[in-house]
Every structure is written in C-alpha cells, then in structure tokens.
Symmetry: D2
Subunit: 139 residues, 4 copies
Amino acid sequence: MFERIHDSFARQLAMAHLGARLTAVRDGEVEIDLDYDPRLTQQQGFLHAGVTTAICDSACGYAAFTKMSPGSDVVSVEFKVNLLAPAVGERFRAIGRVVRAGARLVVTQGEVLAYQGEQSKCVLLMQATMMAITPRPSL
Amino acid sequence: MFERIHDSFARQLAMAHLGARLTAVRDGEVEIDLDYDPRLTQQQGFLHAGVTTAICDSACGYAAFTKMSPGSDVVSVEFKVNLLAPAVGERFRAIGRVVRAGARLVVTQGEVLAYQGEQSKCVLLMQATMMAITPRPSL
Amino acid sequence: MFERIHDSFARQLAMAHLGARLTAVRDGEVEIDLDYDPRLTQQQGFLHAGVTTAICDSACGYAAFTKMSPGSDVVSVEFKVNLLAPAVGERFRAIGRVVRAGARLVVTQGEVLAYQGEQSKCVLLMQATMMAITPRPSL
Amino acid sequence: MFERIHDSFARQLAMAHLGARLTAVRDGEVEIDLDYDPRLTQQQGFLHAGVTTAICDSACGYAAFTKMSPGSDVVSVEFKVNLLAPAVGERFRAIGRVVRAGARLVVTQGEVLAYQGEQSKCVLLMQATMMAITPRPSL
C-alpha cells in the first residue's frame, strides 16, 4: 500500500511543482508537508488558498486510497474547504483522514496546519468525497 | 476597478507560478486562463484538482472584488467544488461570477472550462463565499 | 418517468409533513413548491434553512432521477448550500437542475426562490451530488 | 447563555414541527435529539436528508451562538453535508461543535448519529459557517 501511494504521489507532478512532500502514510491517514515559498502566495503574501487546498486534496485522496483495492485508482469527486485563518507560517502540513469508506465512495476530512516556530494553527478545514476508479488497462 | 484587480492579480505570485493569466474583468465577472502544463498534473496526467481550484478561487475572488468598496481587500471564506470530468485539454478558463453581493460577504459561482481544439467542456463547478476586509494600513 | 417521480415523491412523507408539492417535472429539471407556514420557521420567523434545504434537496434529487435508468433509485451523496437572504415570503419554489449526469453520479444545481406579491428573490443556492442505487428487490 | 439558547430554540417552530429537542448546551457544543417518525421520511423510509440537515444546522448554529456576544443573533451563512449512511434508527442525535470563532463568522462541524438499540453510527457530517448579526430593535 505504502509503495503504491509513494509511486502515485511521485507521478503527481503538481506536488513537486509546489514543493510538497509525502511525509506519512498510515491506514486511513496521510500527511503532506510544504515549506513556505513566496512563489505560492496570494496578494497579501499568505499561501494561496488554492495551494493549501491542493495539498489537502492530495492528502485526503491518498488517505482514501489506503482503503481501496489494489487494482483501483483514486479521483476526487468533490470537496469543500473553510479557510479558518490566513495561511501564514514557515511550513505547512496537510492531514487527510478517512471518515467512511464505502465500496466506491470514500468520505474524508482534512486540515492544513501552519507552523511558526513552536506554534501551530489550523488554517484550512476540508470535507471531501473520493472515488475508486478502475483505470483502463494500457496495452 | 480594473487597474486595482490587475495590480492585485500581479501580486498573486501563485498565479504566475501556475502560468495563469487574468484575461477578462467585467462588473461581477472575471476570467483567468491557463495553458496545459505537464508540471501541473496529478497521477493520471490530468490537471491537478488543486490547480483548477486555484484559478477558479482567484476568478471568484476577483469577481467579488469588483463589487467591493475601493479601500477593501478580498479573502476567500470558503468554497466547494464538484469535479465534473477529468481536466484534460490544451487550455483552461476559469470564470467567476457574483451571485449576491452583501455588505461584507459576496457569494459567487465559478466554473472551469477545458478546451481541446474546437471543443470545450466544464470540468469544475464552484460555489464560494468571499469577504471584504479592511487591510491594516502600512506605516 | 413522470409517473415514477410522482410516485416516489408521494412516498417522501417528509414532503407532505412540510406541505411541499411537486409542481413540475421536466427532463433534468424539477420544481417543488411550498407555502409559508409559521410552523416551519426559525427563531426570527423566517423559514428554517433546513426546510428550504429539504425541498431543494428533493428537487435536485428528482432532477437527477430523470436521468437515471428505470430500475434504479436515487440517494443524496452530499450537498452544499449558501443562504443568500432570509427566507421571507408567501410561497417558495425550489428548482433543481442536472449539470452533469454520469453513469452513477449526477451533479446538480438548485435554488430556492421566495415570492412576495409580484416580487421574487433567490434565498438559497445548492450544489449537490446524487447517486443511482439499485434497490434490493422485495420478495 | 443557556437560557438565551433555550429561548431561541423554543422560537424555532420548525424544530417542534419535526419533534426535535434541545438536549445539551455546552460552551461551543450543542446537541439536538430527534426520535424516528415515519412522517419525516424519504421514499425508502429513511429519515429525509433535509430533516437530519435541519437538526444539524440548528445544533451548529447554537454551538456558534454560545461564542457570540449577548446582544447578537445567529444566522447560517452556508453549510455542506455528506450523507454517510441511510438515516435508519430509533432515534437521532445532532451534535454541533465550534471549530473557530471569529469576530463575526464562526466555523463549525456537525454530525448526526443514528441509534438502534445499543448501536450508533454517524449518518451525516456537516461543515458550516455561522454569522453573528445585530437584530433590528423592535419599538
């Protein structure tokens, strides 16, 4: 399972473009870390909501993926985020957790924590639905 | 208004990092374009949902911004997206539109269209709440 | 199709308990009407958000149902609503529309309009995912 | 605080119409109970999603209300629900909890548990934004 997720994450080139790293894979829970980068900001210098959403979506997606059968792949069906505070910090951690795993749909919750020195705060809260798909076999 | 939005967009460095361009600003409606870039993909080679969400969030945010008073700035409160189809195409357009502008909260709807040759299809649907804030004055 | 939806609506006893009526069924679009009733209010005398959500959820669900195969039934997977204005009016109309119909998942948008004399305004905006299920056969 | 919330709940006539009872008010957390009632069902005999949403919206709203200043009232800005399982059970409990309380906006999470004998399961997950408003004084 872990290898399958690390392989898939490595093929998510958007994660590399953002500088995100897969830092923990547990059964039903995945963490993705990201350092602050001024190239990822919105107009006030905070991390852009699309960036924190991207790492949280991947964390939730891979958390769901830990519950799916080996032959399947995962896609996001939908997600909703609340932005609780400006994404200010030295580094950020997205945590995705499975809430309920159905046969095809997996419901997850995610959050993004911002770390500044010894302090951390939650800046984003996500509720997301992921779906198992059967990839078309390549010849 | 147009200048204010172009200035703010230019300060959203995340948009430049993704290669996104502000292509239309109308009263209550903003468009942001993005060319396909393999560096922005998820594991299946489609644009990552975080990327299409990022440009749609900015389009909705700036659409809301057209309804806000000159001294204010805009932040995203929350958004929800449905991913309607894989983000496959040569180029993408996010369109954000104001549905209701209150004194502080502005509700918007957004979509992302994927273009392939002459064809286009909607790949993402967003419903988002934006808020006017008063930036702290710099000394 | 119309008969199938009218039959199903008649079995949604919650709709009768709220006083809601199925008033239009078109391919991919369904309308449900509700008169103001003081028993359905929240603490300020407006219709409770749960009530406007309930009729909009049913309208979106049945709009999705028009796209599903005869042997299936419909359930709500998830929905998100923005409450645009207090639900004040003499009568209310929920309209659900299909945005994209997949094999099992159908994405819909809905709204609730409040009517007061000649005037109407949109008080609720919904984005919802519906799913086709195969009911267990009864013996 | 408790009295203020019990008074407000008593004025939410929709809660009485559904048969819902306010069963716990703590700082930042509110519970609302509801017994199964065949009049509140959808076409398959489960509780209608609008009904479980209604009690969860009220639970989240009043949880937010515990964090608001005495002179204010609370309204729902938006919410998103995932329906995790059919709402089957003898009784149901909605629990709303404050995640972050801002000056005007309060973000909450809610869930609805279904009880059948000794067993309980989560059937609905909510993420909601509540707003403090200043009611217009009556003369």
